[in-house]
C-alpha cells in the first residue's frame, strides 16, 4: 500500500525541496559574513531552520492533489483505517523530502566548517527529527486543505509546533560541536517526540481530513 502511494508520488519533484534546502543554507554565509567562528556557531540553527522550511514547502502538496482529483475521498471510503493510510502517505512524503536532507547534511558541514562528529550527529538528529516534521506538518496540511493562501496559513499554524524539535535538534549539534555535554539525553528526547508524533499525529490528521473533505 505504501509502495503505491510512493508510486503515485514518484514523478513529483523531489529535487525542488532538496535544492531549496541547499539554497537557504548557502544564503546565510552570504548574509551573515563568512567568518569561520560565526558560521560554526550558527550552522546547527541554520540547518534546522532550512529543514523546517523545506519540509513545510513540500507539505502543502501532501494531500492537495488527492483532494483536487477526488482520490482523497475515495481513500476515506476504503475499508482501511484512515490513520494507516495517513501514515503511509506521510512516510512516503518523508522518504521524498526528509530523507534526502539527511544525506545532504554533510554538505552543510562542509560549508560551515563543522567538525566530523558534529556532522554525523546532525545526520542522526535529522534522521530522527525530519519524520516528526512530516508527521506534525501533516495535521496542518490536512487542516488547511483547499484553502486560499493555504501555504502561508500552514506555516503560521505549524511552525510554532516545530519549535521543540528545532531546539533539541539544533541543540544536539551544537553540543556535539563543542563537545561539552552528553548527547544521549538529546536523542532520547527526540526519539520520545518521534514516538509521540507517530501515535498521535495520524489520528489528528485523519480527523482533520474528515473535517476538510466535507
Amino acid at each position: 500500500m505504501r509502495d503505491l502511494t510512493l508510486a503515485m508520488r514518484r514523478r513529483t519533484d523531489v529535487l525542488t525541496t532538496l535544492f531549496f534546502f541547499i539554497i537557504v543554507v548557502s544564503l546565510f554565509p552570504l548574509g551573515a559574513g563568512t567568518e569561520k567562528m560565526i558560521l560554526m556557531k550558527i550552522a546547527p540553527g541554520v540547518a534546522w531552520v532550512a529543514a523546517l522550511l523545506a519540509s513545510m514547502l513540500a507539505l502543502e502538496r501532501l494531500f492537495a492533489s488527492d483532494f483536487a482529483d477526488g482520490t482523497l475521498e475515495q481513500m476515506l471510503l476504503t475499508p482501511q483505517p484512515i490513520f494507516i493510510l495517513v501514515l503511509g502517505k506521510v512516510f512516503a512524503h518523508w522518504l521524498l523530502t526528509g530523507l534526502p536532507l539527511v544525506f545532504i547534511a554533510p554538505l552543510v558541514g562542509l560549508q560551515y566548517y563543522l567538525p566530523d562528529e558534529a556532522v554525523s550527529t546532525m545526520m542522526l538528529a535529522l534522521l530522527i527529527g525530519t519524520p516528526i516534521l512530516s508527521l506534525v506538518g501533516a495535521i496542518g496540511a490536512a487542516l488547511t486543505l483547499g484553502l486560499r493562501g493555504g501555504g502561508i496559513l500552514l506555516s503560521l499554524l505549524i511552525l510554532p509546533l516545530y519549535i521543540p524539535i528545532m531546539v533539541y535538534g539544533a541543540g544536539v549539534v551544537s553540543a556535539s560541536a563543542t563537545g561539552t555535554t552528553d548527547l544521549q539525553a538529546y536523542f532520547s528526547i527526540l526519539s520520545g517526540f518521534l514516538i509521540l508524533a507517530l501515535v498521535l499525529s495520524p489520528i489528528a490528521t485523519a480527523a482533520a481530513l474528515r473535517i476538510s473533505v466535507e
Binding site: 487542516l143 488547511t144 484553502l147 499554524l157 509546533l161 519549535i163 521543540p164 531546539v167 473535517i211
Partner: protein, 249 residues
C-alpha cells in the same frame, strides 16, 4: 435539584442567559479592578526588592499573563466539548475566547516589555517565559487565522477546534523545550516564579490576585458579549433572531 445543562447548550436559550450574566460580571469586573488597583497603588510598599515604583506594572502584567494561559486552556476545553457533543454553542464560545486570550497575551508581552526596559534596560530578552508567551500569541493567531480562512462556518469551527487541541498537547512540550534547551542541565534550571524571590509583601500578592480576578471577570464579560454577537451573526436567518430584532424596533 438537577439542572438540565443541555438546555443552555442551544444558542436560542443561551443568548438571553448570556445577556443576563453580562451586567453581573461587568459590575464584578469594575469593583475588582478598582479595588485591586487601589490596593496595589496605595496600600503596598513603594519598592519591591531593588525595584522602585515602576514595579507596580506587575498588577496588570501578572494578571494578563495568567489569563493568557488560562484562556487557552478554556478555549481548548470548549473546542473539545464541541467535537465531543457536536454542540454549536461550544464552538462559538471557543472562538469567542480566542481574541480575548490573544489580547491578554499581547498585554502581558507589552507590559513586560515596559517593565523589562526599566528594570533590565532592554525591551526584549530571550528569556524562556517571554519566549513562551510569544509562542502562545502565535498559537492564538494561528487559531484565529484558520477560523477566518475557512468560509464554511461548520468546517471552520471544527478545524479550529482540532487545532486548539493539537496546540494544547504541544504547549507543554514547547514551553518545556524552551525552558531547558539542554536536557542535561534541566534540573538545575529552575525558574523562580516571583521576581524578588519568595519574600514578597503580602499586600502586593493580594492586590495582584484581586486584579487577576478582575481580569478573569472581564474575560467573562468580553467572551459572553462576543458569543452573543457570534450567535446573532450565525443565526441571522432563523426565526427567533428575526422576531427578537423586530421586537426591538
Amino acid at each position: 435539584m438537577s439542572i438540565n445543562w443541555f438546555k443552555y447548550s442551544s444558542p436560542t436559550t443561551f443568548y438571553p442567559l448570556a445577556g443576563k450574566m453580562i451586567p453581573f460580571f461587568g459590575w464584578l469586573t469594575a469593583l475588582l479592578t478598582i479595588g485591586g488597583l487601589y490596593w496595589g497603588f496605595f496600600e503596598t510598599p513603594d519598592t519591591l526588592s531593588d525595584q522602585k515604583e515602576y514595579y507596580r506594572i506587575i498588577y496588570i502584567h501578572v494578571g494578563a499573563a495568567w489569563m493568557s494561559m488560562w484562556l487557552y486552556i478554556m478555549m481548548a476545553a470548549w473546542a473539545l466539548a464541541g467535537l465531543v457533543f457536536q454542540t454549536r454553542l461550544s464552538y462559538m464560545i471557543a472562538s469567542a475566547i480566542a481574541p480575548t486570550g490573544a489580547i491578554a497575551t499581547f498585554l502581558a508581552l507589552w507590559t513586560g516589555a515596559f517593565w523589562g526596559k526599566t528594570s533590565w534596560g532592554t525591551w526584549w530578552d530571550w528569556d524562556p517565559r517571554m519566549t513562551s508567551e510569544l509562542i502562545l500569541l502565535f498559537l492564538y493567531m494561528g487559531y484565529m487565522a484558520l477560523q477566518s480562512a475557512i468560509d464554511d462556518p461548520r468546517r471552520a469551527d471544527r478545524a479550529a477546534a482540532l487545532l486548539a487541541l493539537v496546540g494544547l498537547v504541544c504547549v507543554p512540550i514547547i514551553f518545556w523545550s524552551i525552558n531547558c534547551p539542554n536536557p542535561n542541565e534541566c534540573a538545575a534550571l529552575h525558574q523562580t516564579s516571583k521576581p524578588g524571590g519568595g519574600n514578597m509583601d503580602p499586600n502586593i500578592l493580594i492586590a495582584m490576585l484581586v486584579v487577576a480576578l478582575a481580569f478573569w471577570m472581564y474575560s467573562f464579560v468580553a467572551v459572553l458579549m462576543r458569543v452573543r454577537n457570534i450567535i446573532l451573526e450565525r443565526e441571522r436567518h432563523t426565526t427567533w433572531v428575526n422576531e427578537m430584532l423586530e421586537d426591538k424596533q
